[in-house]
């Protein structure tokens, strides 16, 4: 190894500015001891100072400051105004000129692409049919996932019962802390829904939450063994992820602690590489074999889910997955989040979940195989209205991950890949991960589901619908606003006013 290359001084100015109101600051040092990025400093003479260039706007200091002395602002722009060369583009080039590397990022695609959920409006009953008051009438949110189609064979297929059509999406131990998994798994169990181990295996402390877990089998096959498959609600074969379709994953060796190593069944402190493809799946027939293998391994007792990123031709892909024997198809839209992904991939690959979902639902109906598998929509669900719209577009249930992390304290700084998550979520550093007390995490995650459940009931009641199953694929309840005719066509909905 030679000496580091000299790339001159750092061209970028700080992105954020830490503003400390001296009239309010009491030199208590909470900001100093809470910032894992080491932005805040206090000298022995109580002089406070900051390194703005390290700030990621995670807001930890601002939230915990007992006197609200801190506010995080945009650093005053110094780049000359340019509608083509924005400051972000210029900074990215500086970073690459300094590092020579791929730009990494975390969480979901932040670009201002059109958000179709926000261009859909719901119906409500007026005069010609009555609305329903969810406080007075029963309102059914329970739904079932699995193959509901093979009525002739009379063989009962494994299915899952969800008391609310919202599940926690895959986040592996390693990408998030054990306390995040403890929070979500217990919340899922108490709320009658499911969580997902991600591809990092099931930590021994969470064995009791296996029966409410989707256990993932991904290209790295981390932590997969017969006991892992048996102690689960369902098995999810992960082909792709909305945040980074087409590429694999890489957990750096420094993060493969003893705990992670035990759970993933790989040597400690060695890199954990998830290959881009499964090396045993090069065709739809290969997928068929893996699905069958997993069914045999678990005695046909568990539904098998297959998760793919929403990409071009998603309709045909989903059709193939169902025909390969999957009981659940998970479509992950291009806004889906990640703990770490190359920025160019996250921001430029994939398609929106709304379009993909409508396409898949229509395609499976057209082919007469819709009832053979349930559809789960993921990637970018931010509120209960998005859930309702996803179900009306054809989903049986949705996955949420970013929303769940936000409920646990995530402030969307998108720096998950650094392992320095100040909210103790996307990290395995014990000093940071202790910042999420699962007791609080469980309650907050449960509250989120309960709140969304109430809102969903409210919206369903307005539409005159008293069971979530009656809403599935019921696109008459949707109208598009600000969409062109091709978009309306792809979504299979009418325009407002129509």
């Amino acid at each position: 190894m030679g000496a580091p290359l000299n790339t001159g001084f750092q061209m970028g100015t700080p992105v954020f500015k830490v503003d400390r109101d001296p009239d309010r600051c009491i030199q208590c040092g909470v900001c100093v001891n809470q910032c894992a990025n080491e932005v805040h400093h206090m000298d022995s003479d109580s002089w406070m100072w900051t390194e703005d260039e390290k700030c990621v706007a995670c807001q930890r200091c601002a939230v915990l400051c007992p006197t609200q002395a801190i506010s995080i602002k945009d650093f005053p722009v110094i780049f000359r105004e340019n509608s083509h060369w924005g400051s972000a583009s210029i900074r990215e080039i500086y970073r690459q000129a300094e590092s020579g590397g791929v730009l990494l990022t975390g969480m979901g695609n932040p670009r201002p692409y059109k958000n179709y959920f926000d261009h859909l409006l719901l119906n409500a009953s007026q005069v010609t049919n009555p609305s329903i008051d969810p406080l007075r009438e029963p309102m059914e949110l329970t739904t079932y996932l699995g193959n509901k189609g093979d009525l002739i064979s009379q063989v009962e297929k494994p299915y899952l019962k969800l008391k609310i059509p919202i599940m926690f999406s895959a986040m592996s131990f390693g990408s998030v802390s054990l306390n995040v998994q403890k929070s979500l798994s217990a919340a899922a169990e108490e709320m009658g829904t499911f969580w997902n181990t991600g591809e990092g295996g099931l930590h021994q402390d969470l064995k009791e939450f296996g029966p409410c877990a989707f256990v993932q089998v991904a290209s790295g096959r981390f932590g997969v063994h017969p006991g892992y498959l048996a102690n689960s609600a369902a098995i999810e074969i992960k082909i792709g992820q909305g945040a980074k379709p087409g590429i694999g994953g890489h957990l750096p060796g420094e993060k493969v602690s003893e705990e992670v190593s035990l759970t993933r069944m790989i040597p400690a402190w060695s890199d954990a590489i998830s290959p881009a493809p499964h090396h045993d799946i090069y065709s739809i027939e290969d997928l068929d074999q893996l699905i069958e293998t997993l069914k045999v391994a678990t005695g046909y007792s568990k539904p098998i889910a297959v998760k793919v990123a929403a990409v071009h031709n998603i309709g045909a892909i989903a059709s193939g997955i169902v025909r390969a024997g999957a009981d659940i198809v998970v479509i992950d839209g291009f806004r889906g989040s990640t703990g770490a992904a190359p920025m160019r991939i996250r921001d430029n690959v994939g398609i929106p979940i709304e379009i993909a979902l409508a396409q898949v639902d229509s395609r499976l109906r057209d082919e007469g195989i819709r009832q053979q598998a349930s559809l789960v929509a993921a990637g970018g669900i931010k509120n209960s209205a998005d859930v309702i719209k996803a179900i009306a577009l054809g989903a049986d249930a949705v996955y949420i991950a970013s929303a769940a992390l936000v409920a646990l304290g995530c402030h969307m700084c998108q720096m998950c890949f650094t392992g320095k998550c100040n909210w103790g979520l996307a990290t395995t550093n014990p000093e940071l991960s202790k910042r999420l007390n699962p007791e609080i995490g469980i309650q907050r995650a449960k509250n989120l589901l309960a709140a969304w459940g109430h809102e969903i009931q409210e919206m369903m009641g307005g539409m005159g619908i008293n069971a979530i199953d009656s809403l599935r694929g019921n696109r008459l309840m949707l109208r598009g606003i600000g969409l062109n005719s091709q978009e309306l066509d792809l979504l299979g909905i009418k325009s407002v006013g129509d």
Partner: protein, 147 residues
């Protein structure tokens, strides 16, 4: 009643101390006033080791060494079992400090008199340290430590 620390979830942020000080001496929970205009005196102190921290607060022991050792009758137990100090009666002998296994009761840096946790008995609601702990690492539980 007493407040117990759960070191597993203690962040060592120190907000407990700050809100403790603001809840006493008439600051009424106003942190800014306590620290900008007054002389804040936290009753309980955070103990920080390299890997661990916790709030070193009063266990309000059933058989409290400080209460038994107090030579001036300044330390008292109220009807709820809370051990508190009548600061005006304190003669600064520090016998209570000498006998507390937790090192909890400590002289005020301001007056030299002993100050200690009184579970915010003069305020409404649960103690300020518990209600302001950002990670539920402090809990108000029934019963005192058996000394």
């Amino acid at each position: 009643m007493k407040v117990i620390s759960i070191p597993e979830y203690c962040l060592g942020c120190g907000l407990c101390e700050i809100y403790c000080a603001a809840q006493h001496d008439g600051y009424n929970g106003n942190v800014l006033k306590a620290y900008k205009k007054g002389k804040p005196a936290p009753r309980s102190g955070l103990i920080k080791f390299s890997q661990m921290s916790w709030l070193n607060t009063c266990m309000h022991c059933d058989d409290a060494p400080c209460l038994n050792a107090c030579i001036s009758g300044a330390i008292k137990r109220d009807e709820n079992g809370i051990i508190y100090i009548d600061e005006n009666r304190c003669v600064k002998c520090y016998t209570c400090v000498m006998v507390c296994p937790y090192g909890h009761a400590q002289p005020s840096s301001e007056s030299g008199r002993i100050i200690k946790c009184d579970l915010c008995r003069d305020s409404e609601g649960i103690p300020a340290c518990v209600s302001h702990c950002p990670n539920a690492a402090l809990k108000l539980v029934q019963g005192g430590a058996e000394q």
